[in-house]
């Protein structure tokens, strides 16, 4: 069976990145710089490929000058003028254009899918746990919003609602932190699975040997000083 060099290199880089858990070292810095360099190279290659297929080919090869491609290309080139202090103001045009288009595209979909459909949803009292769930969502949302009312002092009824809202927000932030931790654990578990199989297991063994050598070397260095 052919040795999977791609996976072996991938797992080597993973272990080199994890070596930061022990201490900062040259292997970690190599992995870090390789990752940044690879991402930049990949982005550059894909970007050039897109420019070639979407700008160069239609405009230069096919000669389709009277098309939206020309306008968009000019706007894109205007954006580069941001680098020069004298022409920096021209870059505001493509930025404004992009902000306007992005807002228009987003708002077009928001009204039906995110407002009308949700507001007209008839599932408030569906029975059982679902209703309790809906009541909790409504209570937490309302009290959480009460917490952020700063135009009035938090006293009396508003004070009680804001106080409850504070705990609701703490629960939600704790949940956010917990799910983020879960996703990080999942990522690590995924890597561990690959490290337990061939060829990752060979990389793991090599990594353990290098770690032991590193620990012994550090101990010797400390004992000498």
């Amino acid at each position: 069976m052919e040795f999977d060099w791609g996976t072996a290199i991938e797992m080597s880089l993973v272990l080199m990145a994890w070596s930061l858990l022990y201490r900062d070292n040259i292997l970690y810095r190599i992995a870090e710089n390789l990752t940044v360099g690879w991402f930049m190279a990949m982005s550059l290659v894909v970007g050039l490929d897109i420019l070639k297929s979407r700008v160069y080919t239609p405009l230069i090869i096919r000669g389709e000058w009277l098309s939206p491609t020309l306008i968009v290309t000019i706007l894109g080139l205007l954006y580069l003028l941001r680098l020069l202090p004298e022409t920096r103001w021209l870059a505001r045009w493509p930025i404004s254009f992009m902000a306007g288009v992005a807002s228009a595209v987003a708002v077009k979909g928001v009204i039906y899918a995110q407002i009308i459909r949700l507001v007209t949803m008839k599932s408030w009292a569906v029975g059982g746990l679902e209703s309790i769930n809906n009541i909790i969502i409504a209570t937490f949302t309302f009290t959480g919003l009460c917490y952020f009312i700063f135009t009035r002092e938090h006293k009396g009824v508003l004070g009680a609602l804001a106080g409850f809202g504070k705990y609701a927000l703490m629960i939600c932030f704790g949940w956010t932190a917990g799910t983020y931790l879960m996703s990080l654990i999942s990522m690590s578990v995924g890597h561990m699975q690959t490290l337990m199989q061939v060829p990752g297991i060979y990389v793991s063994m090599l990594g353990v040997i290098i770690l032991i050598i590193g620990i012994i070397y550090d101990r010797i260095k400390i004992s000498k000083t």
Partner: protein, 254 residues
């Protein structure tokens, strides 16, 4: 991972629904697969992505369906989509007639909006540079009227897909299925209850459930054991540390 515990796990109702919706795609139907996951999320979303791809291409072989693959968020999605495709048996299938890879189309939300009205305008060429108007499969496929199933795999906000696909897909009865991280599932629940989002896959557990439904247990099922144990460890450590903290706090007060 060394000794699987085979901890039981339920197949969630949205996962079953996602499977049934893809299974119900009619003969010759068009399945659109949007891969917008990133490298950090592969461990969570990869199992579901691979399972859906396997199911979609099984539909291609059995029912003559067509698959359109594309990415619109970042390049990583295209690379990971290709990685998921490497787990699929493409024997007997022909590129350009059974499936097409449109590659990375920059623009994110604008691309999602554009593919509803005019696919060829947002993707004039496929990943390999072939003009889409020359691809046999795409001759009669150009807008939401021609799609039968919309799938997206995302590790960011899923409401972008709901915004751009929701109204048009709902009007034409095209199901939307999103494979998402477990942290974003609560944000998707209102859309699922409202019916705008037809079904979803809840990260690893959704992926593992989908693998069982297609009869090909894989990475998801293997990961679930290890992930469950890791989470139990995390909960145990939290309880332990909180217990020590509480005892110290109470003894200090005395």
């Amino acid at each position: 991972m060394l000794r699987p515990l085979a901890l039981p796990f339920p197949i969630e109702e949205p996962t079953r629904k996602a499977y049934e919706l893809l299974e119900k795609v009619p003969k010759g139907g068009v399945i659109v697969l949007v891969s917008d996951e990133g490298f950090p999320s592969w461990a969570e979303l990869g199992p579901g992505e691979i399972a859906v791809y396997r199911h979609a291409f099984r539909k291609v072989k059995q029912d003559g369906c067509k698959v359109i693959m594309l990415t619109c968020y970042e390049i990583a999605g295209m690379i990971l989509g290709e990685r998921a495709l490497s787990y699929v048996d493409l024997t007997g299938l022909k590129y350009g007639e059974d499936w097409v890879q449109l590659g990375f189309i920059p623009g994110y939300e604008a691309v999602l909006a554009g593919m509803i009205k005019d696919l060829k305008s947002i993707a004039p060429v496929d990943k390999f540079g072939t003009p889409t108007k020359d691809i046999p499969m795409l001759k009669n496929i150009n807008s939401i009227d021609d799609y039968d199933f919309l799938y997206a795999c995302t590790y960011t906000a899923m409401d972008v897909y709901i915004r751009q696909w929701g109204e048009a897909a709902l009007a034409r009865g095209v199901p939307i299925v999103i494979n998402m991280l477990s942290g974003t599932v609560p944000l998707a629940m209102p859309y699922y209850r409202a019916g705008t989002l037809s079904a979803y896959l809840n990260s690893v557990i959704g992926g593992a459930g989908y693998e069982m439904l297609i009869g090909q247990p894989g990475m998801g099922v293997a990961l679930l054991d290890a992930q469950s144990t890791a989470h139990l460890l995390a909960i145990g450590l939290i309880i332990f540390v909180q217990g020590i903290f509480t005892v110290r706090f109470m003894t200090r007060r005395r």
